[in-house]
């Protein structure tokens, strides 16, 4: 287990390094001139020169990258030499648009995205597990056919479109749900009714459903196939032959085995969903990472864009690492292979 842990940790570090190199190349070498972007409206010679120096564009590429990478690390070797604490906050830089710390921008947006993604994951499991199991138990029944229709539409309809139609029908025509806005669960802004867990939940119902439909469709198909496959296994026949009650056969023989791949997929798909959240956030105006990313693209705010990509990637790497370690703890076959 220790060896596996070390191997996974080292691999996560390699990934982190690779991701930072690629992001750096994408953001600071490819655009025509980041200094122009940094100056924004103020395109004077003086500003450009200052920006060049400030951004370190007058230094060799590897020095630039080294500084960028150094800022991302939570250790401060300079500080150590001067007798300060060696631990520091990793810094994502300063926004071109409003001179705010990118850290605080990302810090404000991340909980929104996390609410959407994790709530969405719960939603798609709540939809797909019962439908998937029931349609596997009654193949070719009306329910099964309906479920297969749902799967086809769910994987073919665009989340953006589903969101727009939902907003139009359920928020504009019939006023059941709000017209998209995010309500902070823990620290509501003073003087508004939009805050607290109830409002948070109420405002996120439509986004959750929108976000969950694609994954719910994929999961219904996967769970249905798994359950059908498991029902044909020898050990299920054995259990039935031994006279085990059907409920027990389902619970401890069929579902336990059929759900294992679902658990594996769930970890990967939550990580994937972090990217997919960008569509839902933009439709419902949720100030999450995806919405901020799009705004930063419109403003040519390179550090913010880059900060969000780096943060998103690191979050996904960390999430995958945790999930992998959990599996290894549960299933000895994984850590020994």
């Amino acid at each position: 287990m220790i060896r596996y842990l070390i191997r996974r940790l080292l691999w996560a570090l390699v990934l982190f390094f690779a991701v930072t190199v690629v992001t750096y190349v994408i953001f600071f070498l490819i655009p025509a001139d980041p200094a122009q972007r940094a100056c924004g409206q103020l395109q004077t010679q003086q500003c450009l020169e200052q920006a060049h120096h400030f951004l370190g564009l007058d230094r060799p590429v590897y020095v630039q990258y080294g500084k960028f990478f150094g800022r991302l690390l939570p250790f401060d070797f300079n500080g150590l030499a001067h007798g300060h604490s060696p631990i520091k906050m990793p810094s994502l830089g300063i926004s071109f648009a409003n001179r705010q710390q990118v850290n605080s921008i990302v810090g404000g947006a991340a909980p929104v995205t996390a609410s959407l993604v994790f709530g969405g994951a719960v939603t798609w499991l709540l939809i797909s597990i019962p439908i998937g199991i029931l349609s596997a138990l009654r193949p070719r029944s009306l329910l099964d056919r309906g479920a297969m229709m749902f799967v086809l539409i769910g994987i073919s309809a665009h989340p953006v479109w589903i969101g727009l139609i939902f907003l139009y029908l359920f928020a504009f025509k019939v006023h059941i749900f709000p017209l998209g806005e995010y309500c902070n669960m823990i620290n509501p802004p003073v003087g508004t009714s939009c805050g607290g867990p109830v409002q948070w939940f109420y405002h996120l119902i439509l986004p959750w459903i929108t976000f969950a439909i694609l994954f719910a469709a994929l999961y219904v198909r996967m769970i249905r196939a798994n359950v059908i496959e498991t029902l044909n296994e020898d050990y299920v026949r054995t259990a039935r032959a031994k006279g085990a009650p059907e409920s027990k056969v389902m619970r401890s023989h069929v579902l336990r085995n059929a759900m294992l791949p679902v658990v594996t997929m769930l970890g990967m798909d939550i990580a994937l969903g972090l990217g997919g959240a960008i569509f839902t956030e933009n439709v419902y105006d949720l100030p999450g990472l995806g919405r901020v990313l799009r705004l930063s693209l419109d403003n040519f705010d390179l550090p913010t864009t880059q900060g969000i990509v780096v943060f998103g990637t690191v979050a996904i790497i960390a999430f995958n690492l945790i999930v992998d370690l959990l599996y290894a703890a549960i299933d000895p076959r994984i850590r020994l292979s």
Partner: protein, 357 residues
């Protein structure tokens, strides 16, 4: 009994059985027809023919190609205006909203015409405040959508097949490098990178249209989506090649001195045709969604080039006055994606009947 005699007897009896079956089944037809085993592709086709949903998907795809490349120029010719032509009178009707479906719009731009003005027909109305024809833009959007989806699929499949077969066939350090590369690309948040990349690289690649053959911005999306989605086909191909390369026919080919390239091309890849076709079809469906999504976010196809995604982006601005504008582009995306998904599912079941439940 000697072995020779025994062989002859066995062959004789097999021949007798076959001819007996032939007489029974083809007796009415005259009995002269030779029995022929059904080939692999014939069996696939017979299974595919029975799948009505898949046939419908295939027919719709063909229809879509005709509509995009034949119908769009034809409609432009018949209606007398182009997808990017702006008519100020189409942008605002008497209620101050974009004109609705089936309206005749005055082509008079000077505002001097008072009676019997020349008009032009807007079948689905105007796309927004610029007064462009929604119907024509949907048709031209189909071109962009197909180009991006097919182009990106070809790029990612070529990369995936190349890397996957090399990794699977050679094994060792080649496999290690390719597999690690695959894992690195898989760890990237695909969508975040594609969004970021098309916004930075986009400005440089957008103008590559190969002399107007493909739309503006198509090249960027094809490159970006292709470069980030080759890993899945690579994994499929690698796994298949890994098991195939131990087979006797590969050993035999190697023994007679076939080169590695020849073995991969003529002995391994033909076995992978089925999964590659099925997977490509499903990937096309996914890429149609990607194109629409990226254009919706404003990092895909640049305006004024029409695409389903940027039509969808424009639509919510008029959700009170012209809610239909939100319906059309989403519906075309849904139908196109559905068609490719149905075709892909049908192909998978025809290639491998065991896969269907």
């Amino acid at each position: 009994m000697s072995t020779k005699e025994h062989d002859r007897e066995v062959i004789g009896s097999v021949g007798g059985l076959a001819s007996a079956v032939a007489v029974e089944t083809h007796g009415e037809l005259g009995g002269t027809e030779e029995i022929r085993a059904r080939g692999y592709w014939e069996q696939v086709w017979i299974r595919f023919r029975r799948d009505k949903a898949a046939i419908a998907g295939g027919v719709f795809i063909i229809f879509m190609f005709f509509a995009a490349y034949g119908g769009a120029p034809l409609a432009k010719h018949l209606l007398g205006h182009g997808p990017n032509d702006q008519f100020i009178l189409a942008a605002l009707n008497s209620k101050g909203a974009p004109t609705g479906p089936w309206s005749h719009v005055s082509t008079d731009l000077t505002g001097t015409c008072t009676a019997h003005c020349p008009t032009t027909l807007y079948i689905l109305g105007s796309d927004g405040e610029l007064g462009r024809d929604e119907f024509l833009r949907l048709l031209y959007g189909a071109q962009v959508s197909l180009e991006v989806a097919l182009g990106a699929t070809i790029v990612s499949m070529c990369l995936g097949i190349l890397l996957g077969s090399i990794a699977g066939y050679f094994g060792g350090w080649v496999d290690m490098i390719v597999s690690r590369l695959t894992e690195i690309v898989m760890a990237f948040p695909f969508l975040l990178f594609v969004v970021a990349l098309s916004s930075t690289v986009g400005q440089r690649l957008n103008d590559i249209t190969f002399g107007g053959v493909i739309g503006r911005g198509v090249f960027t999306l094809v490159t970006v989506i292709g470069l980030f989605s080759w890993f899945y086909p690579a994994r499929i191909v690698r796994a298949q090649v890994l098991s195939l390369r131990e087979k006797e026919f590969v050993e035999a080919a190697r023994m007679v001195g076939a080169s590695d390239f020849r073995i991969i091309r003529s002995h391994l890849l033909p076995h992978l045709v089925a999964p590659i076709i099925v997977y490509s079809t499903l990937i096309v469906a996914q890429n149609i969604l990607f194109e629409a999504g990226l254009s919706f976010l404003g990092v895909g196809i640049p305006l004024p080039q029409a695409s389903w995604g940027n039509l969808l982006e424009e639509a919510p601005k008029y959700y009170t006055a012209q809610p239909w504008l939100m319906l059309w582009p989403g519906l075309t995306v849904l139908l196109a994606t559905l068609a490719f998904n149905l075709l892909g599912d049908g192909l998978r079941d025809s290639f491998d009947p065991r896969s269907s439940h």
